[in-house]
Protein backbone atom coordinates (compact mmCIF):
# COMPACT_ATOMS: atom_id res chain seq x y z
CA UNK A 1 0.00 0.00 0.00
CA UNK A 2 1.68 3.15 -1.13
CA UNK A 3 1.84 6.25 0.99
CA UNK A 4 -0.16 8.41 -1.36
CA UNK A 5 -2.98 5.85 -1.31
CA UNK A 6 -3.22 5.99 2.48
CA UNK A 7 -3.30 9.78 2.30
CA UNK A 8 -6.05 9.61 -0.31
CA UNK A 9 -8.12 7.30 1.86
CA UNK A 10 -7.77 9.54 4.94
CA UNK A 11 -8.59 12.57 2.80
CA UNK A 12 -11.70 10.92 1.41
CA UNK A 13 -12.79 9.93 4.92
CA UNK A 14 -12.51 13.59 5.93
CA UNK A 15 -14.48 14.58 2.81
CA UNK A 16 -17.21 12.12 3.80
CA UNK A 17 -17.37 13.53 7.34
CA UNK A 18 -17.59 17.03 5.93
CA UNK A 19 -20.39 16.12 3.54
CA UNK A 20 -22.46 14.48 6.30
CA UNK A 21 -21.84 17.47 8.57
CA UNK A 22 -23.01 19.84 5.83
CA UNK A 23 -26.27 17.97 5.44
CA UNK A 24 -26.88 17.54 9.16
CA UNK A 25 -26.04 21.07 10.25
CA UNK A 26 -29.03 23.13 11.41
CA UNK A 27 -27.05 26.35 11.50
CA UNK A 28 -27.04 27.38 7.86
CA UNK A 29 -24.02 29.62 8.22
CA UNK A 30 -22.11 26.63 9.55
CA UNK A 31 -23.37 24.58 6.60
CA UNK A 32 -22.08 27.20 4.15
CA UNK A 33 -18.67 27.28 5.81
CA UNK A 34 -18.45 23.49 5.99
CA UNK A 35 -19.37 23.16 2.31
CA UNK A 36 -16.51 25.55 1.60
CA UNK A 37 -14.22 23.27 3.60
CA UNK A 38 -15.58 20.37 1.55
CA UNK A 39 -14.40 22.13 -1.61
CA UNK A 40 -10.96 22.76 -0.13
CA UNK A 41 -10.60 19.09 0.79
CA UNK A 42 -11.74 18.05 -2.67
CA UNK A 43 -9.13 20.41 -4.10
CA UNK A 44 -6.52 18.55 -2.03
CA UNK A 45 -7.84 15.29 -3.40
CA UNK A 46 -7.80 16.45 -7.02
CA UNK A 47 -4.23 17.65 -6.59
CA UNK A 48 -3.26 14.28 -5.22
CA UNK A 49 -4.93 12.67 -8.25
CA UNK A 50 -2.71 14.88 -10.44
CA UNK A 51 -5.61 16.95 -11.75
CA UNK A 52 -4.23 20.31 -10.72
CA UNK A 53 -6.45 22.34 -13.02
CA UNK A 54 -9.61 20.71 -11.68
CA UNK A 55 -8.33 21.30 -8.16
CA UNK A 56 -7.81 24.97 -8.75
CA UNK A 57 -11.24 25.35 -10.31
CA UNK A 58 -12.76 23.52 -7.37
CA UNK A 59 -11.01 25.81 -4.88
CA UNK A 60 -11.85 29.00 -6.76
CA UNK A 61 -15.47 28.16 -7.50
CA UNK A 62 -16.39 25.92 -4.57
CA UNK A 63 -14.52 27.59 -1.76
CA UNK A 64 -14.50 31.11 -3.18
CA UNK A 65 -17.49 32.22 -5.17
CA UNK A 66 -20.02 29.62 -4.00
CA UNK A 67 -19.44 30.38 -0.33
CA UNK A 68 -19.91 34.08 -0.93
CA UNK A 69 -23.11 33.44 -2.88
CA UNK A 70 -24.42 31.15 -0.12
CA UNK A 71 -23.63 33.71 2.57
CA UNK A 72 -25.21 36.41 0.45
CA UNK A 73 -28.35 34.27 0.37
CA UNK A 74 -28.17 33.82 4.14
CA UNK A 75 -28.04 37.59 4.60
CA UNK A 76 -31.35 37.77 2.74
CA UNK A 77 -33.12 34.79 4.27
CA UNK A 78 -31.88 34.01 7.75
CA UNK A 79 -29.51 31.50 9.22
CA UNK A 80 -31.69 28.90 10.89
CA UNK A 81 -33.12 25.95 9.05
CA UNK A 82 -36.84 25.39 9.38
CA UNK A 83 -37.11 22.01 11.03
CA UNK A 84 -38.92 19.84 8.56
CA UNK A 85 -37.23 16.62 7.82
CA UNK A 86 -39.13 14.23 5.65
CA UNK A 87 -37.21 11.47 3.96
CA UNK A 88 -38.52 11.16 0.44
CA UNK A 89 -38.02 7.44 -0.03
CA UNK A 90 -38.46 7.18 -3.83
CA UNK A 91 -35.95 9.99 -4.32
CA UNK A 92 -33.50 8.32 -1.94
CA UNK A 93 -33.89 4.99 -3.71
CA UNK A 94 -33.45 6.64 -7.10
CA UNK A 95 -30.27 8.37 -5.92
CA UNK A 96 -28.89 5.12 -4.53
CA UNK A 97 -29.78 3.26 -7.72
CA UNK A 98 -28.04 5.87 -9.88
CA UNK A 99 -25.03 5.81 -7.57
CA UNK A 100 -24.91 2.02 -7.77
CA UNK A 101 -25.06 2.12 -11.57
CA UNK A 102 -22.23 4.66 -11.65
CA UNK A 103 -20.09 2.52 -9.35
CA UNK A 104 -20.89 -0.51 -11.50
CA UNK A 105 -19.73 1.50 -14.52
CA UNK A 106 -16.38 2.25 -12.92
CA UNK A 107 -15.66 -1.47 -12.55
CA UNK A 108 -14.84 -1.68 -16.24
CA UNK A 109 -12.42 1.23 -16.14
CA UNK A 110 -8.66 0.67 -16.18
CA UNK A 111 -6.75 1.19 -12.97
CA UNK A 112 -5.68 4.70 -12.04
CA UNK A 113 -2.45 5.62 -13.83
CA UNK A 114 -2.41 2.46 -15.93
CA UNK A 115 -0.05 3.18 -18.84
CA UNK A 116 -1.86 0.60 -20.95
CA UNK A 117 -5.24 2.27 -20.62
CA UNK A 118 -7.08 2.70 -23.94
CA UNK A 119 -6.81 6.47 -23.66
CA UNK A 120 -3.04 6.16 -23.85
CA UNK A 121 -2.78 3.37 -26.37
CA UNK A 122 -5.68 3.83 -28.76
CA UNK A 123 -3.98 4.67 -32.07
CA UNK A 124 -6.64 7.16 -33.09
CA UNK A 125 -6.25 9.31 -30.02
CA UNK A 126 -2.64 8.85 -29.01
CA UNK A 127 -1.09 9.06 -32.46
CA UNK A 128 -3.13 11.79 -34.03
CA UNK A 129 -3.15 14.13 -31.09
CA UNK A 130 0.62 14.11 -31.14
CA UNK A 131 0.60 14.83 -34.87
CA UNK A 132 -1.90 17.63 -34.60
CA UNK A 133 0.19 19.37 -32.01
CA UNK A 134 3.34 18.91 -34.00
CA UNK A 135 1.91 20.31 -37.22
CA UNK A 136 1.26 23.74 -35.81
CA UNK A 137 1.77 26.42 -38.47
CA UNK A 138 5.39 27.46 -38.53
CA UNK A 139 6.54 24.72 -36.19
CA UNK A 140 9.82 22.98 -36.78
CA UNK A 141 8.30 19.55 -36.69
CA UNK A 142 6.48 19.81 -40.03
CA UNK A 143 8.81 17.44 -41.82
CA UNK A 144 8.90 15.08 -38.88
CA UNK A 145 5.12 15.26 -38.99
CA UNK A 146 5.04 14.20 -42.61
CA UNK A 147 7.34 11.28 -41.81
CA UNK A 148 5.32 10.20 -38.81
CA UNK A 149 2.12 10.56 -40.82
CA UNK A 150 3.45 8.12 -43.36
CA UNK A 151 4.33 5.71 -40.59
CA UNK A 152 0.98 6.18 -38.90
CA UNK A 153 -0.87 5.69 -42.18
CA UNK A 154 0.77 2.33 -42.59
CA UNK A 155 -0.19 1.40 -39.06
CA UNK A 156 -3.66 2.79 -39.44
CA UNK A 157 -4.82 0.33 -42.05
CA UNK A 158 -3.93 -2.50 -39.72
CA UNK A 159 -5.40 -0.93 -36.65
CA UNK A 160 -8.75 0.14 -38.06
CA UNK A 161 -10.47 -2.59 -39.88
CA UNK A 162 -13.95 -1.52 -38.92
CA UNK A 163 -15.73 1.49 -40.27
CA UNK A 164 -17.71 2.18 -37.12
CA UNK A 165 -14.88 4.11 -35.57
CA UNK A 166 -14.46 6.29 -38.59
CA UNK A 167 -18.04 7.38 -38.68
CA UNK A 168 -18.11 8.78 -35.18
CA UNK A 169 -15.00 10.86 -35.59
CA UNK A 170 -15.85 13.04 -38.53
CA UNK A 171 -15.69 12.19 -42.18
CA UNK A 172 -12.65 10.75 -43.76
CA UNK A 173 -11.97 12.70 -46.90
CA UNK A 174 -9.81 10.07 -48.49
CA UNK A 175 -6.71 12.17 -48.87
CA UNK A 176 -3.79 10.10 -47.67
CA UNK A 177 -1.90 13.13 -46.35
CA UNK A 178 -4.66 14.26 -44.06
CA UNK A 179 -6.04 12.73 -40.93
CA UNK A 180 -9.71 12.83 -40.00
CA UNK A 181 -9.81 16.38 -38.75
CA UNK A 182 -7.18 18.12 -40.79
CA UNK A 183 -8.79 20.92 -42.73
CA UNK A 184 -11.94 20.80 -40.64
CA UNK A 185 -10.53 22.18 -37.41
CA UNK A 186 -7.21 23.87 -38.03
CA UNK A 187 -6.88 25.22 -34.49
CA UNK A 188 -5.29 22.75 -32.07
CA UNK A 189 -7.33 23.68 -29.02
CA UNK A 190 -10.54 23.45 -31.01
CA UNK A 191 -9.36 20.19 -32.49
CA UNK A 192 -8.88 18.61 -29.06
CA UNK A 193 -12.00 20.06 -27.43
CA UNK A 194 -14.44 19.64 -30.29
CA UNK A 195 -13.05 16.81 -32.40
CA UNK A 196 -11.22 14.49 -30.03
CA UNK A 197 -13.33 15.13 -26.94
CA UNK A 198 -16.57 16.01 -28.69
CA UNK A 199 -18.83 13.87 -26.51
CA UNK A 200 -17.18 15.20 -23.37
CA UNK A 201 -17.78 18.77 -24.44
CA UNK A 202 -21.32 18.03 -25.55
CA UNK A 203 -22.34 16.64 -22.18
CA UNK A 204 -20.58 19.45 -20.35
CA UNK A 205 -22.72 21.83 -22.37
CA UNK A 206 -25.77 19.74 -21.40
CA UNK A 207 -24.86 20.11 -17.73
CA UNK A 208 -24.62 23.87 -18.08
CA UNK A 209 -27.93 23.96 -19.95
CA UNK A 210 -29.63 21.93 -17.20
CA UNK A 211 -28.20 24.27 -14.57
CA UNK A 212 -29.57 27.26 -16.46
CA UNK A 213 -33.01 25.68 -16.82
CA UNK A 214 -33.00 24.82 -13.13
CA UNK A 215 -32.18 28.38 -12.16
CA UNK A 216 -34.93 29.75 -14.39
CA UNK A 217 -37.48 27.34 -12.93
CA UNK A 218 -36.41 28.14 -9.36
CA UNK A 219 -36.26 31.90 -9.69
CA UNK A 220 -39.26 32.53 -11.92
CA UNK A 221 -41.98 34.61 -10.34
CA UNK A 222 -40.42 34.83 -6.89
CA UNK A 223 -40.22 38.57 -6.49
CA UNK A 224 -41.75 38.97 -3.05
CA UNK A 225 -40.09 40.86 -0.25
CA UNK A 226 -37.29 38.71 1.11
CA UNK A 227 -37.40 37.81 4.77
CA UNK A 228 -35.06 39.90 6.82
CA UNK A 229 -32.88 37.67 8.91
CA UNK A 230 -30.00 38.26 11.25
CA UNK A 231 -26.56 36.97 10.56
CA UNK A 232 -24.22 36.69 13.54
Amino acid sequence: MSGILIIDLVLLALVLITAVATVESRNLFAAAVISSIYSLLMACFWTSMDAVDVAYTEAAVGAGISTILLIGTLVLTGTRETVRRIVHWPALLLCMAVGGVLIYGTLDMPAFGDPHAPAHEHPLYAGYTKQDIRKAPGSKGAEAYEASLTAARDGEHEAHGEDTEHSEHGEHNGNAHQDYFHGHVPNQVTSIIVAYRGFDTMFETCVIFCAGVGMIVLLRGRRGNPMKGGLL
Binding site: S2, G3, I4, I6, I7, V10, L11, L14, I17, T18, A21, S25, N27, F29, A30, V33, I34, S36, I37, L40, L41, A43, C44, T47, S48, V52, A55, Y56, A59, A60, A63, G64, T67, I68, I71, G72, V75, L231, L232
Partner: protein, 98 residues
Protein backbone atom coordinates in the same frame (compact mmCIF):
# COMPACT_ATOMS: atom_id res chain seq x y z
CA UNK B 1 16.66 -4.49 -8.66
CA UNK B 2 14.02 -5.26 -6.12
CA UNK B 3 16.15 -3.71 -3.41
CA UNK B 4 16.63 -0.50 -5.37
CA UNK B 5 12.93 -0.37 -6.06
CA UNK B 6 12.10 -0.87 -2.42
CA UNK B 7 14.63 1.74 -1.41
CA UNK B 8 13.26 4.32 -3.83
CA UNK B 9 9.76 3.55 -2.60
CA UNK B 10 10.96 4.12 0.92
CA UNK B 11 12.50 7.43 -0.01
CA UNK B 12 9.41 8.76 -1.71
CA UNK B 13 6.84 7.13 0.50
CA UNK B 14 7.94 7.84 4.04
CA UNK B 15 8.08 11.66 3.70
CA UNK B 16 4.81 11.60 1.78
CA UNK B 17 3.15 9.53 4.43
CA UNK B 18 4.48 11.44 7.44
CA UNK B 19 4.01 14.91 5.99
CA UNK B 20 0.64 14.18 4.47
CA UNK B 21 -0.74 12.47 7.55
CA UNK B 22 0.49 15.31 9.77
CA UNK B 23 -1.30 17.82 7.54
CA UNK B 24 -4.43 15.71 7.49
CA UNK B 25 -4.36 15.40 11.27
CA UNK B 26 -4.26 19.19 11.47
CA UNK B 27 -7.16 19.40 9.04
CA UNK B 28 -9.08 16.92 11.18
CA UNK B 29 -8.63 19.02 14.32
CA UNK B 30 -9.76 22.13 12.43
CA UNK B 31 -12.71 20.23 11.06
CA UNK B 32 -13.82 19.42 14.61
CA UNK B 33 -13.69 23.14 15.38
CA UNK B 34 -15.58 23.99 12.19
CA UNK B 35 -18.37 21.52 12.88
CA UNK B 36 -18.68 21.98 16.64
CA UNK B 37 -17.44 25.54 16.94
CA UNK B 38 -19.62 27.57 19.28
CA UNK B 39 -19.45 30.83 17.34
CA UNK B 40 -19.38 31.54 13.65
CA UNK B 41 -15.99 33.20 13.95
CA UNK B 42 -14.53 29.86 15.02
CA UNK B 43 -15.88 28.39 11.81
CA UNK B 44 -14.47 31.19 9.66
CA UNK B 45 -11.08 30.82 11.30
CA UNK B 46 -11.19 27.06 10.83
CA UNK B 47 -12.05 27.51 7.16
CA UNK B 48 -9.19 29.97 6.72
CA UNK B 49 -6.74 27.61 8.41
CA UNK B 50 -7.92 24.67 6.30
CA UNK B 51 -7.32 26.82 3.22
CA UNK B 52 -3.77 27.36 4.43
CA UNK B 53 -3.42 23.62 4.98
CA UNK B 54 -4.61 23.06 1.42
CA UNK B 55 -1.88 25.35 0.10
CA UNK B 56 0.64 23.45 2.23
CA UNK B 57 -0.68 20.14 0.93
CA UNK B 58 -0.21 21.27 -2.68
CA UNK B 59 3.30 22.47 -1.88
CA UNK B 60 4.08 19.17 -0.17
CA UNK B 61 2.89 17.17 -3.16
CA UNK B 62 4.99 19.34 -5.46
CA UNK B 63 8.00 18.78 -3.23
CA UNK B 64 7.47 15.02 -3.08
CA UNK B 65 6.93 14.62 -6.83
CA UNK B 66 9.76 17.08 -7.58
CA UNK B 67 7.66 19.55 -9.51
CA UNK B 68 8.61 23.03 -8.30
CA UNK B 69 5.82 24.63 -10.35
CA UNK B 70 3.42 23.42 -7.65
CA UNK B 71 4.77 26.15 -5.38
CA UNK B 72 3.21 28.78 -7.64
CA UNK B 73 -0.10 26.97 -7.42
CA UNK B 74 0.25 26.93 -3.64
CA UNK B 75 0.80 30.70 -3.69
CA UNK B 76 -2.33 31.11 -5.79
CA UNK B 77 -4.26 29.05 -3.24
CA UNK B 78 -2.97 31.27 -0.44
CA UNK B 79 -4.10 34.41 -2.26
CA UNK B 80 -7.47 32.85 -3.04
CA UNK B 81 -7.92 31.86 0.58
CA UNK B 82 -7.09 35.35 1.80
CA UNK B 83 -9.42 37.05 -0.65
CA UNK B 84 -12.22 34.60 0.12
CA UNK B 85 -11.97 35.13 3.86
CA UNK B 86 -11.90 38.91 3.47
CA UNK B 87 -14.95 38.72 1.22
CA UNK B 88 -16.90 36.60 3.72
CA UNK B 89 -16.02 38.87 6.63
CA UNK B 90 -16.93 41.99 4.62
CA UNK B 91 -20.20 40.43 3.63
CA UNK B 92 -21.06 39.68 7.25
CA UNK B 93 -20.07 43.15 8.43
CA UNK B 94 -21.57 45.32 5.67
CA UNK B 95 -24.22 42.98 4.19
CA UNK B 96 -22.82 43.61 0.73
CA UNK B 97 -19.57 43.37 -1.21
CA UNK B 98 -18.96 47.09 -1.58
Amino acid sequence: MMLAQAESMLHTDIPTLVGGLALLFGIMLLLVRAIAGPTNYDRILAMNAIGTKTALFVALLGFITERPAFLDIALAYAILNFVGTIAILKFIRHRRLG
